[in-house]
């Protein structure tokens, strides 16, 4: 099996960076206790031990992206409107240039150091946004980013108390969404190609041969999903349950924005001056009051309990019912980072026992 010594990881990243933008778990400047997927530059030290606070979904679904630009102008007799492509407005800087995710869709990108849960989440998003041009749901921007993305996954030989990917059959051994998987072993990593694109990376002359066996993967917490989808429907109107479950929630959007499978977005126009503008798509979160506020002033989800109920119901009941997949991969980010210590597993278990 192919093997790479831990100290040669920067060399591997260097090779990958020749043809693509490489994103890896990095510590941002001045913030030692933060770990995020950030663009790797030579010299930057990747952290392959800890978990990132935000999922890598922004590589296929940026926090913001322009859908198109528009421009009004005065002709002799009338006003004219031109609809341009996404980057048509000079000086606009693009919706997300500052965080680096705003590269033109289709630029070759490598996601390095994703975990199995992250890689698997990409297949969930694929079903939503469409991978093939002919599919009913067809998002050309997503497709372009996804098609240009190579995923190098880091298999988990250890986990923490927030992980629960073993709730699904494959658990940490899942290869879904990965192109290449690195397995931590003594002194470095074993590598296994999953897709053709991953196999192609194994041709690089950085790999050695190794006889080491594959390591034993982590065994995480398991949430018994069982009949949760129908159970959640049964307790839909049990507001007492939902209110008690969300007493500590403050209705921020961290859990949804950190989540690798939450995909809600909002679309709005931003002017650049008085004549030019862009239509942008940005992440939106069902935990926000404004998410469902209607023009009339009516809000069908007025309280935190209503909103959290929707979040849970969507992930674990309605979506699985309609699409056959849970909108969760057990990455545990929403648990690790919740500012008030709300654990989604407690709510799910509580619902199961209701």
């Amino acid at each position: 099996m192919k093997f790479i010594a831990a100290k040669k990881i920067p060399d591997l990243l260097g090779l990958l960076a020749r043809d693509a933008r490489v994103w890896a778990p990095l510590v941002p400047e001045d913030s030692a206790d933060t770990l995020l997927f950030l663009p790797w530059e030579p010299g930057a030290e990747v952290d392959l031990e800890r978990f990132t606070q935000v999922s890598p979904k922004k590589l296929v679904m940026p926090g913001s992206e322009p859908l198109f630009s528009f421009s009004y102008s005065m002709a002799v007799d009338c006003e004219r409107l031109e609809i341009g492509d996404a980057r048509g407005v000079p000086g606009a800087g693009g919706a997300s240039d500052a965080d680096g995710a705003g590269e033109a869709p289709g630029a070759a990108t490598v996601l390095f150091g994703a975990r199995a849960c992250d890689a698997r989440s990409l297949t969930v998003l694929d079903a939503l946004f469409g991978l093939e041009p002919g599919e009913a749901y067809n998002d050309p921007l997503y497709r372009a980013r996804r098609a240009a993305l190579t995923v190098v996954t880091l298999a988990c030989t250890s986990c923490d108390a927030a992980c629960f990917c073993s709730s699904w059959a494959e658990g940490p051994a899942s290869t879904e969404g990965s192109d290449l998987i690195l397995y931590p072993v003594e002194g470095g990593y074993l590598a296994r190609g999953v897709s053709d694109r991953g196999e192609a990376l194994l041709v690089l002359d950085i790999w050695e041969e190794s006889e080491q066996p594959l390591p034993e993967l982590a065994e995480t917490d398991r949430v018994p999903f069982g009949t949760l989808n129908t159970k959640l429907l049964e307790i839909f109107s049990d507001m007492d349950f939902w209110e008690r479950a969300t007493e500590r929630c403050v209705s921020c959007g961290y859990c949804t924005y950190a989540c690798p499978t939450c995909y809600c977005f909002n679309i709005f126009d931003e002017m650049r001056g008085s004549r030019d503008g862009e239509r942008c798509r940005s992440w939106d979160a069902c935990m926000f009051y404004l998410y469902t506020l209607e023009t009339s002033g009516h809000n069908p989800r007025p309280t935190i309990a209503h909103r959290y109920r929707n979040r849970i119901g969507h992930k674990f009941s309605y979506y699985p019912e309609n699409q056959g997949t849970t909108l969760c991969t057990g990455c545990g980010r929403c648990i690790r980072g919740c500012p008030v210590g709300l654990d989604i597993r407690d709510v799910l278990r509580g619902a199961g026992e209701r």
Binding site: D30, D33, L35, A95, V250, S251, A258, D343
Partner: protein, 313 residues
């Protein structure tokens, strides 16, 4: 802490519910909770992992009779909320707790892994079997602690700290770890620094939602279409704008509880901004939010004699 449990039970005879903490069985650290019954109150705890400022819940619960367990810093928020009419003193039973400083649990978790066993010995810490210097993991707000004992309370539990908890580590003089760095930067470098910091923002609004003084709650001017103060994009430019809207609206309100910086998932040093503003306000108006129920918020008043900036010519 039997004393706390008894006090909450006693308070529950008089109020609808009490805001406090329970121990999360999965991690062993405290998590916010509401106690509605005496039976539930049995689970109440107070220890050095009770970092959350429970005053954040008061505006949403306004009009109901409540109890709230409050550290010295939390009580400052309660005071400020009462001044701002977001809570009614007569509806509140404040259960003050003596606080000997609080741990930054998230910092511990991010370094040692979520759920690592935290054994706080009072003068030292053991984290997953490893001994760590306790000061390294103190909540940052403790370094600027003004009063470890609550200023207002109806009942008091535990031992009085008899002064700022921060004396443990140098009292309130200790500035934000990044303030010296910021001080040394030229204006253009400062702009680049903040641009870099805000480039990480994901606009989850956790800073706003955990802030007791961001009491506009569901309808916030950061997100209104008309007027369009901030664009909807997730980028450094808009994130910096929304944070400064927040800073501006918290002038004279921020009690420095540090919740915004603690909640920020991407580690933006938000308290660096808040500290600078709080310092400026103290310098200009001699005002510290949360000091007194009788105080007049500085942005809601003026002094003809003292406010002489800009008059020098």
């Amino acid at each position: 802490m039997a004393d706390l449990v008894t006090t909450i039970k006693q308070t529950l005879k008089d109020v609808e519910l009490v805001l406090g903490w329970v121990r999360d069985p999965a991690t062993g650290v405290a998590a916010p909770a509401r106690f509605h019954t005496e039976e539930e109150a049995e689970a109440a705890v107070f220890d050095s992992t009770c970092v959350h400022n429970l005053a954040v819940h008061l505006p949403r619960l306004k009009g109901r009779r409540l109890g709230i367990v409050a550290k010295g810093c939390d009580a400052r928020s309660v005071v400020e909320l009462i001044i701002e009419h977001e809570a009614e003193r007569e509806d509140l039973k404040v259960i003050g707790v003596g606080c000997g400083s609080i741990l930054d649990v998230k910092k511990i978790w991010r370094r040692f892994g979520y759920g690592v066993e935290i054994d706080d010995r009072g003068d030292s810490l053991e984290l997953g079997g490893e001994r760590g210097p306790r000061e390294d993991f103190l909540a940052r707000k403790c370094h600027g602690c003004l009063e470890a004992d609550p200023d207002i309370y109806d009942l008091f539990v535990g031992e009085s700290a008899g002064g700022p908890a921060g004396e443990i580590s140098g009292g309130r003089e200790e500035p934000h770890p990044l303030s010296a760095m910021l001080e040394d930067l030229a204006p253009a470098e400062r702009r680049a620094f903040w641009r870099e910091q805000f480039s990480r923002c994901i606009r989850c609004y956790a800073c706003r939602e955990v802030c007791p003084m961001c009491f506009c709650r569901d309808i916030c001017i950061m997100q209104t279409q008309v007027p369009h103060w901030a664009g909807g994009e997730v980028n450094a430019r808009e994130s910096e704008m929304i944070q400064h809207i927040r800073v501006s609206h918290l002038a004279g309100r921020c009690t420095g509880c540090g919740e915004c910086e603690r909640a920020c998932p991407v580690g933006i040093p938000l308290m660096l901004l808040m500290d600078e503003q709080n310092r400026a306000i103290e310098d200009m108006f001699g005002y510290r939010a949360g000091d007194s129920l009788r105080a007049r918020p500085p942005m809601q008043t003026f002094s003809i004699e003292k406010d002489l900036w800009g008059d020098e010519e």
